[in-house]
């Protein structure tokens, strides 16, 4: 869809009338207009949730891209396990389910009026506006890095052409090359992602370029599931992956794209492939609208995900400050359901029952070896806290069969969560 036509609006409103006519006995159709900016895990999960629970509300999903490429499972593309199309989804079923998908970039939003200006200048007006824009890369966090440098030193932290680029570089690298992965300071999207990436790259290198090495230059001194990752590296990839913590000069300060050199405070590395992941903040449209209040991420009500500043405005997923919930696809999907429940309760004047929030995250060391972390959350009046801190991960020294089962579960999770959104 190139432009938003009158026909789209007519089609959407006809759907509303038809749904109302087909469900006699229901209350009068709600005319509430819900706008969602961003067609990723937060936005699409919310749109589908709302439609499943209410045939009457008007739902408009605004998304620039016509294809959604998931960050989960994109590390497998980089390792050559499957093509990018296996982690790519179209919005056909989203549209077919009675959601108006506006395939245009949202340029600007007004958090008070709940309006969104599209590329081209048209403006859409809503009663409820949900912002789920994902992350924006902070290019200036690394000297010498930027959109142009990323063509030589891909971040591949937004899945799509960057993923393909990094795959091609890894594939064409000579045996014996050095892959550098630069990990930004927290908070960033998918905290275990860089380490899973290193693991799956090592899986590919071990089979095809066994003299090659990976060095992870980290801004932090510890990482999530660290013991499990390190155990798997010991078992599977001895001598192939080196991790340099921030306190040992791991933080990347500067890069030189022309020479593929990466500089930390004290050392420099000449890479054959440089995967440079910069610092992150909430998606640009949220920052531009001041929803982050200068902090980089947006404060929300911990049970409804409504903005703390603007009534009727909600923020989901990576862009939100969601207490101890990590920035993950699973979190965004769970938050979307909680938020959807809150919006529908508000529209219908119904009581609101806060949703249970979980985050479950699998990481692969190789295709038949995965492990997980399980987070349950308690929603308090001002934050979201872990309900237990102990025994959240797969135990260390687990049998191979256990890791195989986790790998199968991870694939099943991916099938189910993407079906929730796109089937």
């Amino acid at each position: 869809m190139k432009s938003l036509t009158r026909r789209d609006f007519v089609a959407a409103s006809t759907g509303v009338l038809a749904a109302a006519w087909l469900s006699p006995g229901k209350a009068a159709p709600s005319k509430a207009r819900i706008g969602i900016v961003g067609g990723g895990f937060g936005g699409v999960s919310l749109a589908r949730y709302l439609r499943r629970h209410d045939p009457n509300v008007s739902i408009t999903l605004i998304e620039r891209d016509s294809t959604f490429v998931t960050c989960p499972f994109s590390n497998g593309v980089i390792a050559g396990l499957y093509p990018l199309k296996d982690v790519s989804f179209q919005y056909d079923q989203v549209k077919a389910s009675g959601i108006t998908v506006v395939n245009r970039e949202a340029m600007h939003l007004d958090p008070v009026k709940k309006s969104v200006v599209l590329a081209g200048g048209e403006s859409l007006q809503f009663d409820y506006l949900v912002v789920s824009p994902g992350i924006d890369l902070v290019w200036k966090s690394i000297e010498g890095y930027g959109p142009k440098a990323a063509e030589r030193m891909p971040h591949a932290w937004k899945a799509g052409s960057q993923t393909t680029l990094l795959r091609r570089q890894v594939e064409s690298m000579a045996d014996g090359g050095l892959i550098v992965i630069a990990v930004p300071p927290l908070p960033f999207r998918c905290p275990p992602g860089p380490y899973e990436r290193a693991s799956l790259m090592a899986y590919y290198l071990k089979a095809h370029k066994p003299k090659s090495k990976i060095i992870i230059l980290d801004s932090s001194d510890a990482f999530i599931k660290q013991e499990l990752f390190m155990e798997s590296w010991d078992r599977l990839y001895q001598g192939m992956i080196e991790w340099v913590p921030g306190s040992k000069s791991g933080k990347v300060m500067r890069v030189e794209p022309s020479t593929l050199k990466v500089f930390t405070g004290f050392d420099d590395y000449k890479a054959a492939v440089a995967n440079v992941i910069p610092a992150q903040r909430a998606g640009k449209i949220a920052i531009d609208a001041g929803l982050d209040e200068g902090t980089g991420y947006c404060a929300i009500d911990s049970s409804t995900f409504e903005s703390k500043r603007h009534k009727g405005l909600y923020i989901l997923g990576d862009a939100a400050i969601a207490g101890e919930m990590p920035k993950s696809a699973f979190s965004a999907n769970n938050q979307a359901k909680a938020c959807g429940r809150a919006i529908l309760a508000d529209i219908g004047g119904k009581p609101f029952t806060p949703a249970k929030l979980l985050n479950i995250c699998y990481s692969f060391a190789k295709p038949d070896y995965a492990f997980s972390i399980v987070d349950g959350f308690v929603v308090t009046s001002d934050t979201i806290q872990l309900s237990f801190a102990d025994n959240r991960t797969t135990p260390l020294r687990a049998a191979d069969g256990e890791h195989e089962r986790e790998a199968e579960s991870a694939r099943s999770w991916y099938a189910n969560i993407t079906a929730d959104m796109f089937a």
């Binding site: 359901k337 009581p351 199968e408 969560i417």
Partner: protein
Amino acid sequence: MTLHVRQCARRLKFAVVALIVIAAPRLSTAEELKGEALADACTSCHGIGGRSHGAIPSINGLSKDAFVQDLKAYRAQTKTATIMNRIARVYSDADINALADYFTSGGKP
């Protein structure tokens, strides 16, 4: 903390029932609302309506007894699963009952 939350939930439930009776008899009951609110997180792995693709088991269409028994056994660590032993710790007996009602009644979307 958990106890406090549960007490609040119980109080809220009474308030909710009262509201529903006064406002609109056709609305969901508080029990149903609670089951659904809890179940939303389950479906992120087990699929919409509890119908799963692949290795993660479907959790719709079980008998209520089996559902309750299994979840309590995971929580008590007397039955092992890939990750459910870790997850089941977040649910109280009342939560497990509400979840069982939700998923054994056909698993609404």
